[in-house]
């Protein structure tokens, strides 16, 4: 529909009221685009600039005597000392991404395209590992599968009569790190691919079947090519996440030798003598690596958008019929995955929480609930619980509003700057939380925001903005523009149209995004561990600190409280707003 036809068809506009679209550029775009660009520059670009600034300093953040030097950058870029770290980190991230994407895609296909029993329940269960902090998972898996004293290996030795050096699984290796992280990153791939499968027109598969292709041929020749960009996006997204992991390796990789890049950054702040500039310099390496990942990620999501098939017709895809054996194997695989990622770790955390000291042998220790009482009545827990709840509510609320504004500007807005807004809002996907935290410390240490909960909120909003804008953008793409145009024709202003038409239509996705970001903010460690202060300690940081000072049972209890908080909010969201986390995959 052209502007001319709109003008002809539109009812008379009340005096003093401008018809939407009558004046488009530049003023119409400025009210949204300009403020957004300024916000994104401050929120996203500033901390990254300060990471680079920090890498060029001789001393610690806030030191007035600090001077310009290239020493840290020289050590990082011009010596061979870190080459094995870079290669190892890249290999670890790529390995995690390949395995998570493969497994997530298979699960998504089973749930989204086959008649696997209990598909709806499986969808919820497969997203459940998102509720578990990978850090807590690592704590549990050390107790489960440590080579010398893990429960599984103790059992193996007891059954086989093996010697004390025999073991079945050694989780404390880079492969073990990959395995633990796989359990918690697979749901991301699952969500990406399931979403693509649901947006795909199943008549393509129907046509394949009609032309005589079997299930495998159809899956490989029709389904996979259509969802390939989504698979690619999931892969690069997980590569970026994998480059930034440090909590899991810190717990599992104690055998010397390899330590991933993010862990070295953390060490540079905590080791003696502290070298924050070196940490920032290593952070710039990570920025380069993850920027390459994000370039491919953006390319993949652009491709994915091309393959979305939206039709006005309702459709009900014909599920692929699995044989009895295939059904059993599929269900068993998904159940085992959930057992390994959720049930077993939580059972282990419960076990740890009632042990007076860290032990995997139930016969050797006296169980006690004393630690539970001590932790639950401690002031630290109460303060951290309050802070986590506040951050958990405020961060998603701000992020979702900002994400909606970004996606509206990008998908519905006009004028210059939209590409820049899109690009700036995607950048944090490429930046691990730890780096955002490092940049925030350098940027804000001399401001009143330092050591407040507000700084954590800013860091988390920056970190999660891409999720909010991407998900609300997806929801917005599925709304026919004619609905908004009808509102304008009937005299509603732009804001009124957004509030009365656009927002209600994307509401369920937005609420699901809010819930997902609540979970992320509640379990977040990487940025928080750099930014927390006496007044802004979160449950995740408290758990990390307990683990760091050797109090595994306290760490486990705080982790369980943290999970309980997530479950309560998820249940309330379901009760009050009927929010389903699975909606983010829709």
């Amino acid at each position: 529909m052209t502007l001319a036809t709109l003008d002809t068809a539109a009812p008379p506009v009340p005096a003093g009221r401008r018809r939407p679209g009558a004046r488009r550029f530049p003023l119409a775009a400025l009210w949204l685009n300009a403020p957004l660009i300024i916000i994104l520059l401050l929120l996203v670009v500033m901390p990254l600039v300060f990471v680079i600034y920090g890498a060029l300093q001789s001393s610690m953040p806030g030191d007035p005597a600090s001077s310009f030097t290239l020493q840290s950058l020289q050590k990082v870029y011009a010596s061979s000392w870190y080459v094995s770290t870079y290669l190892g980190t890249a290999a670890l991230a790529a390995g995690i991404a390949v395995s998570s994407t493969l497994l997530g895609s298979i699960f998504a296909w089973l749930v989204g395209r086959t008649n696997v029993p209990g598909g709806g329940a499986m969808e919820v269960l497969l997203i459940a590992p998102l509720f578990v902090s990978p850090f807590l998972g690592a704590i549990a898996w050390v107790v489960l599968a440590g080579p010398n004293a893990g429960m599984i290996n103790d059992l193996y030795r007891a059954i086989t009569g093996g010697g004390p050096r025999d073991y079945l699984i050694n989780i404390m290796t880079p492969v073990g790190v990959g395995f633990v992280v796989l359990l918690y990153y697979t749901p991301y791939a699952f969500v990406f691919v399931l979403s693509a499968l649901r947006n795909m027109d199943p008549s393509l598969e129907e046509a394949s079947y009609l032309n005589g292709a079997n299930k495998l041929q159809t899956a490989l020749r029709v389904t996979f090519p259509v969802i390939r960009p989504a698979v690619g996006a999931a892969f690069f997204f997980i590569v970026v996440l994998g480059c930034g992991i440090f909590t899991v390796p810190t717990v599992l990789l104690t055998s010397g030798g390899f330590a991933p890049l993010a862990e070295l950054i953390q060490r540079s702040f905590n080791n003696y003598p502290p070298q924050p500039a070196l940490g920032a310099a290593l952070g710039t390496v990570m920025l380069i690596v993850t920027s390459i990942g994000i370039m491919f990620y953006r390319r993949s999501i652009a491709q994915a958008a091309k393959f979305v098939t939206l039709t006005g017709k309702g459709f009900r895809p014909r599920p692929v019929r699995l044989g009895a054996a295939a059904k059993v194997i599929s269900v068993a695989a998904m159940v085992i995955f959930v057992m390994l990622g959720v049930v077993l770790p939580y059972a282990t955390l419960l076990f740890i929480s009632v042990a007076p000291y860290s032990s995997s042998g139930a016969d050797a220790i006296r169980f006690s609930f004393g630690t539970w009482w001590t932790v639950l009545t401690s002031a630290s827990l109460h303060s951290a619980l309050k802070n986590s709840l506040l951050v958990g509510i405020i961060v998603p609320s701000i992020t979702v509003v900002l994400g909606l504004a970004v996606s509206y500007a990008v998908n519905r807005g006009r004028g210059p700057g939209r590409a820049l807004i899109d690009y700036l809002s995607t950048i944090p996907v490429a930046v691990p939380g730890l780096i955002i935290g490092v940049g925030m410390v350098w940027a804000y240490i001399t401001t009143p925001l330092y050591a407040t909960l507000a700084l954590l909120v800013i860091a988390f909003v920056c970190e999660y903005l891409p999720y909010a804008s991407r998900m609300s953008g997806n929801a917005m793409l599925q709304i026919d523009k004619s609905l908004e145009e009808a509102s304008w024709i009937n005299g509603a202003g732009k804001l009124q149209t957004v509030w009365k038409v656009t927002v209600p239509l994307v509401r369920q996705t937005v609420l699901a995004t809010w819930l997902m970001l609540f979970i992320f903010a509640t379990r977040e460690i990487s940025a928080a561990v750099v930014l927390y202060s006496p007044n802004s300690t979160l449950l995740s940081v408290l758990s990390w600190n307990y683990e760091s000072d050797g109090s595994m049972s306290q760490a486990a209890i705080v982790g369980l409280v943290q999970t309980a908080l997530m479950l309560v909010v998820a249940a309330l969201s379901r009760l009050i707003f009927r929010v389903r986390l699975g909606r983010v995959a829709a």
Partner: protein, 385 residues
Amino acid sequence: MTGIRGGLIGGGTRRTLLRIGGALGAGAFVTACTKSGGSSEASLPVSLPTGSALEDMMAAARKEGTIVVYISVNEQMFEDWVKPFSEKFGVKVHPVNTGGAAATFTRWAQEWNAKQYQADAVLLADPSAAVRVDKAGMAGEWIPGEGDKFDPGLVIKGKAYPLILNACPMTWNSAKVTAEEAANLFTKDGLANYAYLTDPRWQGRLAVLAPHGVPIFQAEWVRLVKKYGWGLLEGMARNKPAIPSSSVAASDQIARGEINILAFDPTTASALSIGRGAPVEYAWDDEAAVTAFDMIVANKAPHSNAARLFQEWCTTAANVKNLCELLEAIPGRDDIKPATKTSKLAWYQKLKQPKLISDWTTDPAFASGTQDFLDRWAKTFNYKR
């Protein structure tokens, strides 16, 4: 589409609840983002006043209401220890575990440089850092009533008082080490037999603590190198030892049996597990580098009266003794004999006690050789930082 109205709670009630929740949340957030102001240092006493001045100080401390203490010891233990202080003076103690001795100093120093005064007091497990803190003017002045009872060689008068001491013996899990191995862990003189750690039998069972973690670890490695040479370290490195991220993480793995033996582990870390019944034992060499956990009042502390009152409370004989018993530590005062659980164990009573070396903190050769030593150690054990 099922919207808000499709939920189980009525729209009006829900909106009211959301409004109340929003208002409460906003209020709490503003409170959480608010910082306390500092007090003027010049007007503060430097030792415990008497009479009405003491009453005034206690009232001022109660009014301040809280203190923030940076620590690098077990947070729960610390909370247990300070509970009587809070009950007696009405001042809440908020410990912040900074993640290790080096991190404690880093955090405090960068906040000091940026004029962000967060800490009221700091329990600093690094005497060499305490010297730097004093030079930088980061320590507030307070002379405790019982300050002269502490080892004068470890005290920085009016600034830092060593509540507890820490040393690093060879440590192992007695359930995972065989009787024959346990016997060989001692020399014929009853001292720790470090040379035995180069035996290939410890491959996959041995762990070492990086000297980059805390200066006391470096001091202990320097001592071992001086006595046994780099050959000992190279022999241990051939066993590809685990390098846990911290001493407490190492102690946790020793208690569980994941690590069978640690070249050395601070007594404050391992004694926690020992006190709780874990099968952990240790042995001393003839000497051991020792570090102090200094309690220091922060200059420009936001709650300066409460911080000084806290320093006074911390340094009393009864409270030093309590802290030693909770953390199973060596006291920083000679006049105290804490009844720790470890000291009552049969294996402990047979141990030969070492000569404690504390002057490494003031040894210029130690400080000047730091970087070279750390680099060589890192290369020997293939440890990156």
